[in-house]
Symmetry: D2
């Protein structure tokens, strides 16, 4: 359903081509100063039309906070927000009104809900992710004094991969180019590749790496709410996400225990591990070391090429999709991954402190 | 926390070296005939000591159902079950009592709960997964008349991989060997590899593939309870799981839209797709095609080699772990993956039907 | 927190003197035709300024539905609604800005959230109940074809009581007078009593009786979600509610078993009971007979008389409350009680059908 | 369903005539020393056969804790407990096997779950309340250092009422007699009344008052989890409970605002109210003053007199119930009310502290 989180709860609503989308945050601690400019900045990183490799839809993503704030501070009551849908060009969808687009959610949504809402995908549109970015931006501000640092970047686009360890990433380079890959050369190749596909009416996928530093030891609630399990759920919620990999993940499965174990050491007056194959999580609980993970995205399904499919009457048809779609969603998904990571971290912070009993 | 599911809810309890472990299933439909022999069979597939490549702990996993059943049928009331801990050899842990084992949950559990329960890992032990297998076996029986078919098998052990597409797998071969890899040659290699590591006191990881066939169209509850998101959460809950990959997952991220799209066709009097890159899920909702996914496991951390670590007083120590541990958990994790898949499927079946309004 | 219901879930937000209040309904079945005029009619029954015995605040309660509806029908996706706050006269509160009004939530809200939001009570204001009425009106429409009939009426105002059994009530008389008491004589006395208190700057409480007819057998989810337990929770949520009484409740506690037992009979081709002391519920589950219950409300705390209290600096002060408050909320609470009853009924309908397994 | 609480969660299971009943507590803070003798003492106050006015069933209520405790302290992991059913005399039920007992849950349970489990009421039996008493006893111990004091007592039995204000009650007198009414004279009358009914094969109801002292300001989570709303839900869960009344409740509804308002005063270095008509709760949040409430119970439905009813084939029959039932459950319900009050208080304590953000 449409609520995420157990104590810091986000409930979202809205279709891509309705009046607006929005959400309600329940469980936000009171007395937190909210900087709306900072929220806006986060939203701009996600919005379409931000660069030459994104959808030309120029949604400004202006938002309004309708409750839960008094004199610039959170009140502890639900924060209702709304992001206006300024640019609803439903006419794009006229010619495909009653067809099931290949690899789209049209068919499954129609089958499940009995309603065929082709207006830009309705509720299944990635427009929804603007809600997550806004909520994640609030979560980030709640956590502001905790010295938690989360950053994500593009790790691969199609077959082009960034060959750099997450520890050597200079996070300040991420926003210096439109692909959000922190290495200038790789970024240039990625951009070129995306533009070639664009010109061809084709699309591609890719992957994102995200790093979380500064989390306290003890976050995560075994058995079923392990930190990694909730992180996986969150990331697999992103449209087009097809795999979640904690740390070295897939590669780790081919190593031996001797190679993969992390020894504990006591250094800088705290318990750490000499290596970090565990990616900061043991037994589903954070151990204070950096966490990192990858999310893999399939290519955008809206390609500008003739495709065979069927319509609602089960007849074979050939369609061409002409909506203003991204050739690759991965650069725009970077702030989405960060936002969801903040939501997960804050929720676990609140859960963890709820069980402490002081005399 | 310790409950999984929204309508078919499993709450588990128990430490590896206490009297017993167990669970309570709430929300099981009434009137379902339960075959206890079948539950027992599923438990035996998971239990340690089942073969020459598993832990020599010989837990028989005898279980008892304490409530929720009358005359062999479910009553609609909570089903409480208990699995006895017959073989608690805590002495194994004496020499490591106050140390933090490398890549184990000792440290994070101690830090979070303030209690150092070294008796076999306490709650963090994989013994807990017996509860899941038992509950999954019940879920399977509830779904018995729905023609849903779920099977999992070992896809890789260390660097040895099964090169076979899930569509060509002969599921009847899975249980013919102790590695649970359906190809005899690959299975033999895997077995050899595990035994070599065993003799060396070393361990390894691997991966499992799982196939779900026969699910109706419409399961999954966007936005935050997409079928794939809940499946990922479930699988990442398994001890040592480090990555979840739906269908072609990682590889899909390097393809183009033209290559990866699945066209709808109408055949055999139902809507299908000509290819199945989507792995049976679109927009987080099942489309009626087969679902398949991979779970990747890190190597077992309990190796029988001297390892450096620290104790609770932060002093550097060298330990050797002599408990009866598996050299590789992957073959035994096959029924665990299946069980969790059944739990996810049944929960979504119940959720899906709750929203239907008939006149 | 701010969500009610388990499958038909209402999450609300908004302060009495902000831009708007509103809510999100998650879990509404799809394909239900929504009549907005009918929603509006329900809202008008609750709104202040509706008669000479209510607050002179003239809130029009215009609402907007922002999502979840397509071509007049529910889509199965979250229904976001917003009710504008047209008449925010915060100046009324200037003179009491830093005091704790007697028997108000000012103090507890300030203590809990660390923020003193005196603007009309902020989140604790009864303005919130407009959200419930709107959501309840939608629930009523979802249930429209189920022949469920819910009506509430004023049973007492101060010391004036309606001496009439719920079975003999003519529901069509409820809206014929401004007190919502279905007996004209008693209604006239009540109106007179309220007006006298109004002139004196005083206020009063009272009680409401609600009748639910036509519910199927089997609603309610023991042990902890018994029909009566959730109904009690819902009703005690209403501002100023101080007691919940199922059927003969208090009086039943002084009878003997012989007097109070209801015998089963088979009549009109269904199982019924000869008497209905059980008020339609046995073991927390509906038995198909009519349900009725009472909710008791304390007097409005905002009286226009000098009252002693303290301010935030703990100094004793005398205040006079001049906001536009109701002398008695009970007549306006009638549609609120009905709305919450609809929410409870629909949620249990969905829960009940989720557990049915058909072959 | 069968879980109560949001952070301190109790999930229960078990039928009255099965092997055992029990429960799992999830979310119990770690490091709490548990005194099992004290739990046992609480259980003995609830058990049948404890006096000459209770059921002659002599259940000893021996319990076992199966997990979540190490060296006498809670570990932060689920506490699984089990209470054995020693005295299952199902033969009592032979003659009524296929009938629907008047005012019992037989019919509604059969209709809902499709299964007629007459063995002592199955899951609907009050035996379940032993689980609550055990869990409440643990909650009490978790709260031990918080100086919270909860006591309940019998306020009325049938038509015999205790005319004494809760403030003047000497709690040490409650356990001095078998009716649990703290006034010796009234207690004697009550005992006599119950015995007369017993001899006549008849039964009666009554009411309990409960007082909660020492709660901090700020407990309760508006809008839908107000302290009083959750308390009402909890109390209405008790078998035979028919009304919940906070403080002066029903009587308060006939007063005027001038009579019922509580003025704030600053005394003993804290904010208090001069009177306590609010019963310690304002806006659904505790204000630090004592809370008190009443629960009203209908008479026991199992009377030893011939009663007309129908059987499963819809035929009219006359039955006589000969099971060993209480003539009045109210004295035994006293520890049940207390236990549920502890569960509610602890859950709100944990919720309240989860939202605090310290720098």
């Amino acid at each position: 359903m449409n609520t995420f989180g157990q104590l810091f709860k986000l409930t979202t609503w809205g279709e891509s081509h309705g009046k607006a989308i929005g959400g309600v945050i329940d469980g936000c601690p009171s007395g937190i100063e909210l900087d709306l400019t900072s929220i806006n900045k986060d939203l701009q990183r996600r919005r379409p039309g931000q660069s030459s490799i994104t959808s030309p839809r120029n949604e400004e993503d202006t938002f309004e906070i309708l409750s839960g704030i008094l004199n610039g501070k959170t009140t502890g009551h639900p924060i209702s927000f709304m992001i206006h849908n300024s640019n609803k060009k439903s006419a794009d969808y006229n010619n495909i009104q009653d067809t099931f687009r290949p690899s789209h959610a049209d068919y499954t949504y129609t089958a499940k809900y009995g309603i065929h809402d082709q207006n830009g995908g309705g509720r299944s549109s990635a427009r929804e992710t603007a809600n997550w970015v806004l909520a994640g931006s609030i979560a980030k501000q709640v956590l502001a004094k905790k010295n938690i640092d989360i950053f994500a970047f593009v790790k691969s686009i199609g077959t082009i991969k960034l060959h750099q360890n997450h520890e050597s990433i200079d996070a300040s380079q991420i926003e210096t180019n439109i692909t959000r890959c922190p290495d200038a050369d790789t970024a240039a190749q990625m951009e070129l590749y995306i533009k070639e596909l664009m010109n061809d009416g084709n699309t591609c996928g890719g992957s994102i790496q995200c790093v979380i530093k500064g989390l306290p030891v003890g976050l995560g609630e075994p058995i079923f709410d392990k930190f990694n399990a909730r992180l996986a759920q969150a990331m697999m919620t992103i449209n087009a996400a097809r795999a979640f990999e904690l740390g070295e993940g897939v590669q780790l499965s081919s190593l031996t225990g001797k190679e993969a174990n992390d020894s504990y050491i006591y250094t800088d007056q705290k318990i750490q591990t000499s290596t970090n194959h565990s990616a900061g999580i043991q037994g589903g609980i954070t151990n204070g070391m950096p966490i990192w993970f990858q999310v893999y995205f399939k290519p955008v399904s809206s390609i500008k090429k003739p495709q065979k499919t069927i319509n609602q009457e089960h007849q074979e048809v050939t369609i061409e999709i002409n909506g203003r779609h991204d050739p690759c969603v991965v650069p725009r998904a970077v702030p989405i991954v960060e936002a969801l990571a903040y939501l997960v971290c804050l929720d676990f912070m609140l859960l963890n402190q709820s069980y402490l009993m002081h005399d």
